[in-house]
Amino acid sequence: MEPITSFFAVSVILLGIGIYGLTTKRNAIRILFSIELIYNAANLNIIAFARLSSPPLVTGQVLVLFTIALAAMEAAVGLAIVMLVSRLNVDIDLRKLTRLRG
């Protein structure tokens, strides 16, 4: 098995878990986790391509550093929203958050 295939396999598994979580879970925190998994699937892909290309590129790693930072910020904002929602609503079931529906 070529090295890149194993990277892809992990990446696809991560993506699959992420999408599964997004579609089935109702808890806001779990959904945030799932999003984080999808992010990491993408990151892993980028790093793998950069590392295995010839000659190897650094740009992949640099780009991924930025994505991690962005993901952290996104998670922070997301968690803050979830916390506020939990304070207002007690429940954080996304199906029940219908106040903003038009």
């Binding site: 999408i19 997004l22 579609t23 089935t24 996304l94 199906r95 529906r101």
Partner: protein
């Protein structure tokens, strides 16, 4: 300095446009600004006459048509522009006081300035098209100003209330008079317009310009020869003359002018002395020489100039007889204007008939000048008399000489000029016309002219006698009892008419000095327009002239004597019934009534007949069948509508609604569904990329 000639006519028009703006500040600003603009035009006119060389100053107007706008500075236009602008200015000054307490003053000043501007435009225009703009502008302004008192209060009516001729009421409200003026002059204007386009269409290259039209004459294929080939040259000239006939109130379109008295007196003065009626004379003066050369080439001079001369002479006599019986002071003056304009037309006609074109031509134009001056004076003075006595009827005045000495002196001076008593200016110019007719061997025209002299002297004396001599009438005494003392006019009103009356005397005294040079100056018009007309010099004074002078002065004296004995010596009693000859003259030879009978009632009757026989007789009988057909047709088309058209539309709508319902399911707002859709989309995309694109 080429801007100066343009300023002459643009200044009053600019003043008119700015009048509503000035009115926002204060009534006085508006009034004095309007007068200032007319003064500006007069000053520009005088400076132009003395400093600007005779030429055609043009600017491009419509390049596609090769059409230029231009002002033609030549002796004729300068001569007329100065008369018009200065007399208009004096009338404007007079209006300051005369119109003080009237309503609608912004409208009044606007139209007065527009009137003057359009008149100056029509005189200065170097082509027929621009001239026509001014011509119609003058018509519009006269309509608006004659109908100024459009509330139609009884004191502003014209004519004797209750009077009727042939069943036609002979008293008109101002709005009616304005309309009458507009419609009657329109008849002539249509003829004029046809003539202008005939000339334009046949000229090669096409042009409206006077100078170019004149220079095309005598060449092969000129407009004159083209028109002559179709036998249209004389008809075109006569159609052209139709415009002046309407505008200058000549027979058969003279009936609007006496009723135009319904406007404010200052407006009447403007119409009679400076603008409007002089426009017709000017146009004949402008195109006369050109037509003369055109007609001379094809030996057709007599029909056209004969018509001009005879229309003029007949109108002069006709109106003079009517003036002899009129009751209203303004109407006497109105008839007299018609009569005097008739003299001018006769002179211009005689010019073409006689060997010496210049004699009749200059006589007509000089008569225009002296008439403008004394008629303006007479009208302005009459305006004050009417205002002071609160009546327009002369038999409700009487004995005013004591109360208003200067006004009566002014009217006497101007009246003597109108009568043609030496040495007033009216004497010289009227005599020049008569002598031109006599020297041109037109003895019948001369005889009619002489008869008119007698009548003119008679009706002028009659007017002065009834108004100023004798004892005050009951009306004046009533006014005195009410404490409304009949007194002299204020300075702003008195000065204009007194100055004009004195000018009339002064110009008469100086006439032997300036007539020669002025005639030579006017001859410069031909130099510019039609050089071949420079034939025949002034023959100078002869025994014949002396005899003619004596004849006309003698007849004027006879007329004066009859008038004096009848109206100065005896108190005037207005006849209770107008019968016989007096009734015939009083009712304007029944011409007015006949026009009303034929045209106004004819139209009404025709419309009624159409209503009764066509509308009720044919259409109303046809309409039930038509209506049934229409209903059947509508029902049929209605069912077609609901079965075919409506159904199609409904089906389309239903299909749209179904499709929307389908789409609606995707818009669930449930995030998971969106994610799944998104994931399925990506998977499909991947499959496509791997198995379709990758397989290539």
């Amino acid at each position: 300095m080429t801007i100066l000639p343009w300023l002459i006519w643009t200044l009053p028009i600019a003043g008119a446009i700015l009048t509503p703006l000035f009115a926002k500040f204060h009534g006085l600003v508006r009034d004095y600004a309007a007068v200032a603009f007319s003064l500006g035009a007069a000053v520009a006119a005088t400076i132009t006459a003395f400093t600007v060389a005779s030429s055609d100053y043009q600017i491009p107007w419509v390049p596609q048509l090769n059409l230029n706008a231009g002002v033609l500075v030549d002796p004729l236009s300068m001569f007329l522009v100065n008369i018009v602008a200065w007399i208009s200015f004096l009338i404007m000054v007079y209006s300051l006081q005369y119109m003080k307490k009237e309503f609608g003053l912004t409208r009044y000043w606007f139209f007065m300035n527009l009137f003057i501007g359009n008149m100056l435009l029509l005189v200065l225009a170097d082509n027929l098209l621009m001239m026509f703009f001014g011509w119609e502008g003058v018509g519009l302004c006269s309509y608006a100003l004659i109908g100024h008192f459009y509330h139609d209060e009884p004191e502003h009516w014209v004519g004797t209330p209750g009077d009727s001729a042939l069943g036609v009421p002979q008293a008109y409200p101002p709005s009616h008079a304005g309309m009458k003026a507009f419609i009657m002059t329109r008849i002539g204007d249509i003829a004029l317009l046809i003539a202008i386009f005939l000339i334009f269409a046949t000229s090669t290259p096409r042009t409206f310009n006077y100078v170019e039209l004149a220079s095309q004459l005598g060449k092969t294929g000129s407009w004159a020869s083209t028109l002559a080939r179709f036998g249209l040259l004389v008809p075109t000239a006569l159609l052209f003359f139709g415009g002046p006939v309407g505008k200058s109130a000549q027979f058969p379109l003279q009936e609007w002018l006496p009723d135009a008295m319904a406007g404010p007196t200052s407006v009447s003065a403007l119409i009679h002395a400076a603008t409007m009626v002089k426009a017709g004379v000017f146009l004949v003066g402008r195109m006369g020489p050109i037509f003369f050369l055109a007609l001379l080439e094809f030996n057709q001079v007599t029909p056209f100039f004969g018509t001009v001369a005879w229309v003029g002479a007949f109108t002069a006599f006709l109106a003079a007889t009517q003036a002899s019986v009129a009751r209203e002071i303004k109407k006497v003056l109105a008839y007299s204007t018609v009569s005097q304009i008739g003299y001018m037309m006769m002179a211009l006609g005689v010019a073409g008939l006689s060997a010496n074109f210049l004699a009749g031509y200059s006589a007509g134009l000089l008569q225009l000048m002296s008439h403008a001056i004394f008629k303006a004076s007479l009208f302005l003075a009459a305006g004050w008399v009417i205002h002071a006595t609160e009546s327009r009827f002369m038999d409700q005045m009487g004995g005013l000489a004591k109360a208003m000495r200067l006004t009566s002196v002014s009217m006497l001076l101007a009246g003597l000029s109108l009568m043609g008593i030496p040495p007033f200016s009216g004497f010289w110019t009227k005599d020049a016309i008569l002598s031109a007719a006599f020297q041109g061997s037109e003895y019948l025209l001369y005889a009619i002219g002489l008869a008119t002299v007698l009548l003119t002297a008679f009706y002028t004396t009659r007017m002065l006698g009834i108004t100023f001599a004798g004892k005050p009438s009951a009306n004046v005494e009533d006014l005195e009892k009410q404490g409304k003392h009949v007194h002299e006019a204020g300075l702003l009103m008195l000065v204009p008419y007194l100055a004009l009356a004195i000018a009339s005397l002064g110009l008469g005294l100086l006439y032997p000095l300036y007539s020669g040079p002025l005639t030579n100056y006017l001859m410069g018009t031909f130099q510019y327009l039609t050089p071949t007309l420079l034939l025949g010099a002034n023959p100078g004074f002869s025994i014949t002239d002396a005899v003619l002078f004596a004849a006309s002065t003698g007849l004027a004296a006879v007329g004066f004597a009859i008038g004096y004995l009848r109206y100065f010596r005896r108190p005037y009693q207005a006849p209770s019934q107008m019968k016989g000859l007096v009734g015939f003259l009083w009712h304007r030879w029944y011409i007015d009534a006949i026009y009303y009978r034929i045209f106004v009632e004819g139209l009404t009757k025709m419309s009624r007949g159409l209503y009764r026989y066509v509308e009720q007789g044919i259409w109303d009988k046809l309409s039930p069948t038509i209506a049934r057909d229409v209903i059947d047709y509508t029902t049929a088309s209605g069912s077609l509508d609901s079965s075919v058209v409506d159904r199609g539309v409904n089906d389309v709508a239903r299909a749209g609604s179904r499709f929307s319902n389908l789409l609606r399911r995707f818009q669930s707002g449930v995030t998971e569904q969106y994610v799944i859709t998104f994931a399925i989309g990506i998977i499909l995309l991947l499959i496509y990329m791997i198995f379709v694109i990758g397989a290539r």
